[in-house]
Structure formats: C-alpha cells, structure tokens
Subunit: 413 residues, 3 copies
C-alpha cells in the first residue's frame, strides 16, 4: 500500500472531528513508520513485569516494530536495556525470547559486552580501534512499581515522574512490586494498532460482542464507564454516579486509595487511573462468579473492597487490578497491519498455583474478551479495505476513542 | 512490482497489434488497480445463480479485488446488494460466505440495517445524528434469467437490457430461472486475470493441454470454433461450416433457438451467444461419453438437439449449456497476480442427485479442463517474469484473444 | 522496502572504508535489482557440474533472481543454455528441475524447439510469420573442466579464458572432468546474498561459530588463511608461513600443483586459487578424522599430499578440493532478502558409494558448517533491520570481506 493521492499532511488536516480515521491511517506503510517514529518511539512503553528477570544476568527480549531490545538485570538492583545489535557487523546478540547471560557475547564473532553494555576489547582489531566507542546502544529504561518501561528514543525521553509520579501511591498500595506473573498469553491481531486501541477504549461494543464480560459487570456501569472515565455519555455517568459515590465512601473508610487521574488528548500519554466497583452486585474480584481469584490479597489490601483499579499508562499499556490479581495488557505494533497483544496476569508473589489460585479462573474474563476483540478488530479492518469505507460517526459511548484520535493526530502532526 | 521505466500510457500506446501484452500488464499493482477501477468496476459482473438464496434473508458474499458485497434476498421477489461495510466504523457486517439474516446487524457495535439497507436508529448517538444518511452503500444489482449480476460502479451502471436483452430468448428457452446449482468448485490461480481470460478465449492450446476436452469434441470444430465465433481461422471455419449448417437446420426444425450474437472489441462487453453441435458424432451432451448428464431436460427442451449453447456475458462470465445441464464459469480478480475461478454446474431444479444425475459425471469435462488451465496459465506467468519475455505473436486460432486484448486496451485507455 | 532518504549513488559514495555496508544494501529491492543487472547478470556464474546431464537431451533448470535457464545437452559434446521462456506467449517450457527432452515443446500451445533452440514452424500462424526470428533466447554458456558456467548478459560476456584460463592446470590435475556428484544439498537463507558472501570470506567467526570446522583445521591456519589468502592479518600469515612453505616443498616434490592466483578488488571476479595443507597435523583429507573420504584419489593424484585446493571463481562460486573429493558451493540470489546455497560433493566418477566412500562422512564438515552459517547470517540480518544498526569496523581477520565490499562497490557504481 503506497500513499499516493493525498499526502499525509493533507490527511491529517482533513480529519473530521467525531469521525473515525481515513483508510490510509489503518494500512499505509509510510504512516505506520511515522507512527513508530513520532509517537510510539518517543514515549515510554510498558514492556513487562520485573519479576520476569529476578537474577543477575536474566534477560528477555522486547520486540516492537523492527526493533529488538535486550532487557537484562545487570546487578541485583539494576535492569539495563540495549538494542539487540552487535556493534561489529550488526548481528543480533540474543535469539532466545529469554534466558540468562553472564556477558552478552555475539554468536557471530564473539564480540563480548559486559552487562552494562561496554565492549571487552575484541581480538584481531586494527590498532586504531577504540572499544570504548563501541558499547551497545542503550535503550532508556525505567523500573516503576514492579513494571519495566522502555523508551526507544535516540534523544531525551519524556520525564517519567512528571507523567506517572501520581500513580505511585495506588500502584504501591496494590503491591505490584511484590507480584509475580501467574500467566501470560499472546494474541496476534491482523490489523493496525490504532484499531486495537480504539476497540479497547470504548464499551459501545461490549453488549454486542462480549457476553462474558458483560455478565461480570453491570449494564449501567458499562454505559457510564465501560472503558474508564470519559468513555460514556454525561447522562449515563450521572445515572451511575451514586453507585460510584457509595463505593468511594466505603473504600475511603477502609483506607484504600480512591484518587483519580484522567488526562486528555493534549497530554503526553492520555494517562488515566481510576478506582471503581467491579459491579453493583457483590463481586469481590473481576472473575466469572465474583469470588476471589486468589486466596492471597495483593499489597496492602487486608479486606476486599470489591473495587477494580483501572490504569492506562498510555494507549499501548494497561493494568486492570482487582484486590487479589491484576491483568496487564500490552499492545505491540509490528507492521502497519499487525499488532500483537500480550496479556500478563499478576498475583502476589507468595500465592501458590493450584492452592491459592487457579490459572484458568484467573484468566477467564480477559482471555475470552481479548479473543473476541481479535475477531471484531480484524473484521473492522476487512471492511475498511473496501472502496466504500468512509470515516463514520462516533457514539457518545465512544467519547474516549475520539479523545484518542485527537491525541493521535496531535502526536503525528 | 512498481511501474517505473515506462508509464502506463506509454505501455498502452506501445501495444503491438497481434502480439501479447508487455509484462507489467500481468503483474503491476498500479495497472491492476486501474483494471479494477476502469474496467471490472464499471461493468456488470456475473455473481451467482439466484437459487443460492431462495428464502427471504438468505445471503451470500461476493468478493472481488478488495470488495466484499452482501447479496441478500430482501423480499420473495427482490434481491438487494450492499457493500459489506458498516457505516459506523467500517466493520464487515457478515463474515460467513452465506447464511440467513433477518436484519444485517454489525457484530461490532450492533448497528442494525433493514434488508433494504436502511439503518435503524442506533443507541447512544449524538443528537444531530441522522440515521437516514447512514444507509448501507448499495451495489447495483440485476437478476436476469436466474443469474445475479452486480455492477460495483459508484455512478450509473451500463444499460443491462441494451447489452444482454438479446440473450433473453435463448436463456429463457434453457430455463435457467428454474435451475439449481448441482455442484460448485473454486480454482484459485496464481496469475493475472487477463492470463486466465486469454487462456479461455482460444483453443490453440486444446490439443497440447486438454486431452479429455478434445476427446469430447472434434478436431475440426476446435480449430474453427474452439473458443466460440472469432476464435478460429477463416479456413477452419469454412471447413466446419457445413456441419454447423446441418445442425442449425435440425435445431430450427425442432423449434430450438439458433440465433447468434457476436460483439467485437468496440463493444462494451464482447458479449457473445452461439449455439453449436457438441461434436460431429452423436453426443447429446458435453459429457465423457456423450450420454446425457441428467435425465431431466432443462427449460423448454423436449428432446436433445445435441447442441451446446456458448454464452459470454463478458470476459469474466461464461455459460456453456447442454440441453440437460450447464456449466457457469466466473473469473474473479483478487490481486495483480491472483485470480479465482469458480465453476457452477446447473441442472433443472426438479432433478434429483443420484437418481437423475451423477455429480462426478456432470463435472468431469470442465473440472479436469480448468485444473489443466491452472497449470498452464501459472507456467505462462512464470515465464513472463523473465527479463527475456517479450510480447509474442498470436496464431490465427487465437484471433479472439487479439479481440480481447484490443477490448482491454480500449477499456483502460 | 523503498529507498527514499538517500539515493543509491549517495549511499555508494558514502561507503566508509573498513566498515560494513549501510542497511539498504542488505534489503532494498532497487539495490537488489541493480546488483542483479550490473553485477550478477554480467559475470560468469557457476551453474553445476556437467555430469548432471550425461546424455543428449538431459537438462536441468538453473534459477537465479527471476530467471529460469534450461541447461541441456544438445549433442554428445555440446551443452546449450536457453531462457525458459516460449517465444509465443511466454510460458515456461520446462517445469521439472531436471529431465530429458528430445525437443523442447511448450506445454501450452506445443510450440516446439530443436535442442539448438530453433523453432519448428508452428501450425495456424499468420502467413507473414517467420519462425527463424523466434528461436529461444540463448544464454551464454561455458563448459570448463567439468563445470558449467552461465552468463546471463544480453551483450558480450567477459572473456572466460582471460579470467579463468590460469586455473586449468590445477583443475585438470584434480580431474574434475571425470568427477561425479556424490551428494547435493540446498540451504535456503533468509538474507541478502552479500551477507552470505561476507560470511564465507572470513574466518573471524570460525572459532565462535564452527566447532566442527575448527576441529579439522588448526587455529594458526584459520587466523592466517581461514578464508583463503588475504583473509588474515600480516602477523598471522607470517606465523603460519613456515608450515605452508614446508607443505609446498613436499607437494612440489610429488609433482603436484602449487601455483597461486589471488586477484584483488579491481579485478573482474576476485578470482582466487591456492593450495594449502589441510592442517598442521596428519590429515589426508578435509574430513572429521582426517582419513580419506574416498578410496579413489581424484585426477592425477597418486598419493595424498594432505593438501586442500581452495578455488574462488567469483564471490558466488567456490570449490574446496581435497585429493579425493571436493565440495562445490554456489550462492544464488533469489530476492533482496533470500539467497539459496547449494553444495555439491564431487568424487571420482569410478568411485562407488558404500564401497569407496560414505556420503555422510563426505558431507560432514561442510554440511554442519553451512547449517551454522545459515543461523548466523540470518541473525546478522535480523540485527541489521534495527534503526540502531550502523556499519561496523572489520577486524584484520576480515580483510577479504573488505576486499569484497570494495569489489562490490566498484561493480555497482
């Protein structure tokens, strides 16, 4: 697909408020490259949970677009990230998705790097060769409440504290630093990353497409806040507010966090954090029957408050945390028409599989929901390919999608 | 493949009469797009037989290039066609190849359309939203003697009656309106649609490539009229004419149609209709042994006249009808180098499988022939990829291919 | 991949001596097309061993880039080569990788060519058609000491004798003309042909990547001459020279050839021929244990001299010959990011499998080595895709890679 008739700037300028994007934004390679450079590549992206690499030398590969990043624990207290590219002839240093390395030795010519990225002087190099100029290319990295974030920018990354500092109290209360990954699953999607994001930011489709998800929540809640604050109409929010208020009072009385963050399309990342009741029934956790998913409460929770903490670091990274477990969703753009979703399920690090929690039960709501989302986002793209596709109008329940599109247009302009 | 050295107009102007096309016409994406827009998209294309959707709500999908069309029976007497694109966010409405729908409800957000394409007012839409402006995009449709034709044009389609009105008497005599689909098979071809058409419009290759087809027909016939009128040399036609004349006399005496239509490269569609004897032996039907394929004669045939009716609606749609069954061939361009062939075998709607006809026997001639064509057209394209390929000269038995190429060049100019 | 920011000439001019190439050289389609036209297509490429087609009418297909060439024995003493493209409508004439043909008859319309490429007058052609103008497009061919070389150029090919005449004495001594192919294996590589060549022209990677290969040779040898003359540092060459000198004296005393050819980056083909000891131990042949691979010595060898003859016709074709067998490696560019390696193992034509040689033992060293090379060259390309890849510095042990890159830049300028 080659962008020809209109250029990208014309398309950006022509974007009609309240309507979905023109077709090229969902499939054009040049726009995808621009998305990756100006937007994805310049923000902090959620990469994984730090518990994946507990020991010195443990590493995993984070792959996005055409990049492969080695995320490796260099000391007991420090994680480093490097582009998976040898400075000699460019070979990838690591090919396995994860492992443990004492040093990073290239499989091609054995150029060897310390875990801090510095090159050990290789043999047979010309006299003038200076190893200190050939350290691995570092990738910006930030460990934050147990989560690992990367920024692929060649320049200075955004100020992490400024963007996410306000999340600390709640994240800390949830004890994510002392969590472990109970389950992990990949969901490849044959569509552009923006279709995946748009789908995740509205609950207008929940009733038609997600019977299981709807069975766990309540209709009024989904209408008002199905995809977080800003995703429902004013009327729906007003109707549901009393239930939220009552839950807030209860949570506060237990000493549980209730603060809210909700940034708009002019912000760097549309960051959002909100705590809400699971539903208006007596559900303790976001599970099939509302019973806890794990016998061990996470973090500082001593008793269930029946709440769910909804966190959006940015349009590519989310955490939805009950009191006893959390699901973490990462969207990874691969090509203009391919996006990988990875979901992690976290529980307290002391919880024992089979005794304290059942993996299938833990995964149930979101595993079935993300599989349904794959079908509908791929059908969405199939229709967009038609010559008759034209941007269509958003409903009031898709207000947050409109926010996202404005944010996106701002970001690539 | 990107067209670079010569532009399309230069290639069109440089076309040498009597020779095959230059390589880019067989693989360039821009030329394919132009083919689809200026030619395929502006003509009536044969889509299927109406018996596929007998009941209100029955639908099938017709897919061509990047388009998917829902062809659905909206009332007992009317079939409608819509682009398979929701007016909300563009999702495909139907994903199954066929089925029955009371309404067309989008699987994404449940926007719901009546079978006439009008949108039921969806919930949660902004006040200013006017559902009447968001009906499905209709596709031009024409039901004609049991066949369903579509025209994908955004503008006014060609006048159907003017083009095909002259076919009615013969089609009606064959009773295609009261036919049913006895068998259906897909044959994907890894080559440009024009190579598929060129192959179908000449019988110069019959002797080398189609032993089975040749066993059913006669050599003189294939030389004179193997791919219909205009496909053989004058000498061959003259030699075979007495046999045609004798058969014509006989058919007329039975009251069977014998009129002929044969439009040239200056016409809209190169439409052609001709009745000929199956061969110069005593074959009643185009079958392995010349015996009838079905015990039930179609339409108004009371006795076998040993004729075959050869119909070309346009270069993408054909019917070859014996007295007791017909094969319908549709060529569907998918990409610059992919073309699907679908063949339908029709019998009278009252004929009973196993009793009146045997499916394997019915399909034999054309199933084996189309499979052979796949091999030779793909080998043709494999050779065309070489730097040494250059347009080659047509034989006198490929006269109709030359007509087609002239028609094609006229159409995309 | 579309070359945009810099054009090819800028990239060529910007090449930094002593460093690997910029990314587009390893993946850009336009550069690949240029490589094929200006370089691969204008040189003699090693196609196969003549023993593959012993009888009149025996043929094999040689495929490179988008070309398919029929190499066929037209008489007992002559081999011809033709582009696999019918002059009628362009169909490939042969689809099987090898076989025997009395004539070359197109499977489409049966146009038939003599084994010298001339067209027999086809039927049904217009009066003015002159068959003598429609012979098959010939491909330049040269049979040389049992090897078949092709040159795909439309113009005059390079002077074969001038380039390779000097190889004759040694090739003749090895008796390649009386060899047979004992084994043959394909190794498809998902990377650009230049990465395959670069890998083959240096032994800096042997220690890290090729344990088996290193076990057969000696460390000092690999440092000095691991990829032939010009592949090691001066110091390493000086250290190993006494062993080479001693071996040379011995070989000369046996009357075995010891002459050396070593052309640099300004030459047409970087042709190279050198004889060296297998290692500094008592290895008679390049096998796992140093014992002969075949009981029958090849050519004029009467006794083992423990030498190995290393021949590089050009960067795409190599022979590594012990006294009793030889491995022949051909690199065939397919697309910008795909390269097929084919390896042939030759033994004397009188040697009997199972009695005189064991195929597994014969193949061992190079089969395992080429499989390892596939992994490392593909990992090399995976890293080159990253935005952080930049040309890196060659070691002194990669001097011949630098020679190759200079030769390449000269060739496509």
């Amino acid at each position: 697909m080659i962008l020809s008739s209109k250029n990208i700037h014309d398309l950006i300028d022509a974007r009609q408020e309240g309507f979905s994007l023109e077709r090229p934004f969902y499939e054009d390679d040049k726009i995808f490259k621009r998305d990756m450079e100006k937007l994805v590549g310049e923000r902090w992206v959620l990469a994984d949970h730090a518990s994946r690499i507990p020991n010195v030398g443990d590493y995993f590969l984070f792959e996005i677009g055409k990049e492969s990043i080695i995320v490796i624990r260099s000391t007991t207290s420090k994680i480093e990230a490097f582009f998976n590219v040898c400075r000699h002839r460019g070979s990838q240093l690591c090919s396995e998705a994860q492992g443990n390395k004492k040093r990073l030795t290239c499989p091609y010519h054995a150029w060897t790097y310390q875990l801090d990225g510095t090159l050990r002087p290789p043999p047979q190099m010309p006299q003038e060769f200076d190893p200190s100029l050939f350290s691995l290319h570092a990738c910006h990295i930030k460990e934050f409440n147990g989560f690992v974030f990367l920024c692929l920018s060649k320049g200075t990354p955004p100020d992490f504290e400024e963007e996410y500092g306000g999340f600390s109290e709640t994240l800390n209360f949830h004890g994510f630093k002392n969590a472990k990954v109970a389950a992990r699953r990949q969901y490849p999607n044959a569509c552009n990353w923006k279709l995946v994001v748009e789908n995740f930011l509205e609950c207008y489709h929940c009733a038609p497409a997600h019977a299981e998800y709807c069975s766990v929540h309540s209709r009024d809640q989904l209408l008002a806040l199905g995809a977080g604050p800003g995703s429902g109409s004013e009327a729906a929010v007003a109707k549901y507010q009393p239930i939220v208020d009552a839950w807030n009072t209860k949570a506060k009385s237990l000493g549980h966090p209730t603060s809210m963050i909700d940034r708009d399309e002019t912000s760097l990342d549309m960051a959002q954090l909100v705590r809400l009741p699971v539903n208006d029934r007596d559900y303790q956790s976001e599970t099939k029957d509302g019973h806890p998913a794990s016998k061990i409460l996470m973090g500082q929770f001593k008793t269930f408050d029946n709440g769910i903490t909804s966190i959006s670091f940015n349009p590519l990274g989310y955490v939805l945390a009950s009191n006893d477990f959390a699901m973490v969703a990462r969207f990874t753009p691969r090509t203009a028409t391919e996006t990988d979703i990875e979901v992690l399920w976290l529980v307290d690090e002391t919880a024992v599989e089979g005794e304290d929690y059942d993996v299938e039960n833990l995964m149930w709501v979101w595993d079935v929901t993300i599989k349904q989302d794959k079908i509908i986002t791929e059908a969405n793209y199939a229709g967009i390919k038609s010559s008759r596709y034209q941007p269509g109008p958003y409903s009031t329940q898709e207000a947050r999608v409109e926010t996202f599109i404005k944010w996106y247009i701002n970001g690539i302009r």
